[in-house]
């Protein structure tokens, strides 16, 4: 009898508690050999695009330079979540993800002549911090010029 009650209780809890084993795969990583062949000072933008394909992001780097970023994710791990309705309009919830969701990345920096000057690898979030930094609007830049 107790086991039947336990089974029924588990059935009721299923809508509130879940434990998930998930794999998330996003985009293909570039071939390590192709990346290693791209040497700063030698390769240019055309060579890099031919070797690695289209990047995820492109942004301006030091004036007329260019930065391009490749990113990929291959994660596998556990995720636990729970929610409890406490009224008609409210619920308490809890979510724990046991793996780092960050994408890995490769960023290539080119000078104004589009010659590769630097190659960085790591977490894409860290590598692209410069891209995500808000830039002053044209009006603000003009005001700054007027103020000297």
């Amino acid at each position: 009898m107790n086991r039947l009650v336990l089974a029924g209780l588990l059935g009721l809890l299923a809508s509130c508690i879940s434990v998930a084993w998930e794999r998330d795969s996003r985009f293909a990583p570039p071939a390590p050999d192709a990346v290693a062949a791209l040497r700063p000072g030698e390769a240019d933008l055309g060579v890099c695009l031919a070797a690695l394909g289209a990047p995820l992001w492109v942004w301006e780097y030091r004036g007329d330079g260019v930065a391009i970023a490749y990113g990929w994710l291959e994660r596998r791990g556990w995720n636990a979540s729970a929610s409890l309705p406490v009224g008609d309009w409210y619920s308490l919830s809890f979510d724990y993800t046991g793996v780092d969701e960050e994408m890995e990345g490769l960023v290539l920096f080119f000078d104004p002549d589009l010659r590769l000057v630097e190659r960085r690898e790591g977490l894409l979030r860290d590598l692209t911090a410069e891209r995500r930094r808000p830039r002053p609007s044209a009006a603000m830049a003009d005001a700054g010029d007027e103020n000297g």
Binding site: S18, A54, D64
Partner: protein, 126 residues
């Protein structure tokens, strides 16, 4: 035995698959028509339509065209969910000089590669 019979259906709650696509897959054919030094930004727009993003790069500009496909498969047990999510994309970046003439092209066509799988299965040549 009756307890076991009650428990088994609870642990076989269900399964699902789903697919999400963003934009139409990009056709590789028109890439062949792009000629650095000749093709203009207007030509590229005629071939591919509106870009997803336009980036100013000093005197240069770059346009991004993309499409992606995600395939998701899950197995729902009573309290445990097993899920796999696989996303791949087609991307084309075209770079123009200050006169809007094409200088560089980068293309990746992977949106047909995602697979439905369980988290423990090997995919993409793992």
């Amino acid at each position: 035995m009756r307890v076991l019979a009650c428990l088994v259906p609870l642990f076989l709650a269900g399964c699902f698959i789903s697919r999400t696509t963003v934009n139409e897959p990009l056709p590789p054919g028109p890439i062949e028509a792009l000629r650095p030094g000749e093709t203009t930004a207007a030509d590229v727009l005629r071939l591919f339509g509106a870009p997803t993003e336009v980036v100013q790069l000093g005197r240069r500009t770059a346009y991004r065209f993309d499409a992606s496909t995600s395939k998701r498969a899950g197995l729902l047990l009573l309290l445990v969910v097993l899920m796999n999510d696989d996303t791949r994309s087609d991307r084309i970046w075209v770079f123009f000089d200050e006169n809007d003439v094409l200088t560089h092209v980068g293309a990746t066509f992977d949106s047909h590669d995602p697979v439905y799988a369980m988290p423990w299965q090997k995919i993409h040549g793992e």
